[in-house]
Symmetry: C2
């Protein structure tokens, strides 16, 4: 296989993470997501949960946001510092191997490269609500509200670090409604693109 | 083949219309685009050029826009009247046959149906600029400006009639960057989805 990097951005509950894992498995390449967080936890000393939260949910651009951040590193908020560390790690990985990466604004971070396929996965609210209850279980908060909150946070995080609009078709080579094609349908489509690319 | 309707929305110069025509040819079904305009010209008596312009470029929502419209039909502006006639025609066609339809807000008009695949085709500005010069020739206006103007008009038209955002991934089952996959690559992907659907 030619060196290929596949970035997967996804709405919460759309199955995007599963699609990423399955594509990686089929192509025999690693899938990065939480793994990056674990590595960062080791190198920075922060807890995994803390990094995960900082990674998905950027602060607002309010001038007061820094005031409420407990720690500062090199003049950056901890969130910005971790984002930057993660960014460096992603750029480094891209130099040496093929992989799938889920989230982390990787489409934006790797925008200068020509060996990257950027995919966005979404699905209607009703389908995603059903899925998050199946996968993560019920909580006191209605699934529709959990979706809205998490999507909103991801959109803000993406916009904060990329100045681009999350979910805008033009940011991606391919966007897929997973409810129309099914998880395996999406996996096949992505793998076929990579196979076709390798034939040329 | 099961009855299937494929709607193609597209950025100007992305090759979306060609993709639509080629998909229709491969599947052996009609492709509607200008054909609808010809039919409307016959039934309404307006010129084809006039209908085409009204169809692509909606008035603004300014309360003054009606004042400047020369004719009114059934209390509607001519643009709204034609849009509505076109809408009725599209719904009628969907009842009886498989087809590909390019533009015309057909994704929105057919939103209640379950046998519709909605596709949006886009490409980076530089690629589209090259393509419109190849396909439509040079004009006094720079290709980048022609793209911006036409995309803007389509976005306004789409929003006026659908209250949705043009090019938002969530409005479509599939969005494709034609510069990444090529015209024939996009055609194959769409045809494979239809074939897969027919096997199930």
């Amino acid at each position: 296989m030619k060196k290929t990097i596949i970035t997967i951005s996804r709405e919460f509950g759309s199955g995007g993470r599963t699609i990423g894992k399955n594509v990686a498995e089929k192509l025999g390449i690693p899938c990065y997501d939480k793994e990056l967080i674990e590595e960062l936890a080791q190198t920075t000393g922060f807890s995994k949960k803390y990094i995960e939260e900082q990674g998905e949910y950027a602060p607002t651009k309010s001038p007061f946001s820094y005031a409420f951040v407990g720690r500062n590193i090199d003049g950056m908020s901890v969130g910005d510092y971790l984002w930057n560390e993660q960014r460096k790690k992603i750029l480094e990985l891209a130099e040496k191997e093929s992989f799938v990466i889920v989230g982390r604004c990787a489409d934006y971070i790797l925008r200068e490269r020509e060996d990257v396929l950027n995919v966005f996965v979404h699905a209607p609210v009703a389908e995603r609500a059903k899925r998050i209850v199946e996968v993560y279980g019920e909580t006191a908060v209605a699934p529709e509200k959990r979706l809205r909150d998490k999507d909103k946070k991801r959109a803000i995080n993406y916009h904060y670090y990329t100045e681009q609009e999350w979910g805008r078709a033009q940011n991606y080579h391919l966007t897929l409604d997973s409810s129309a094609f099914g998880i395996e349908g999406c996996v096949d489509m992505i793998c076929n693109i990579v196979k076709r690319e390798n034939e040329n």
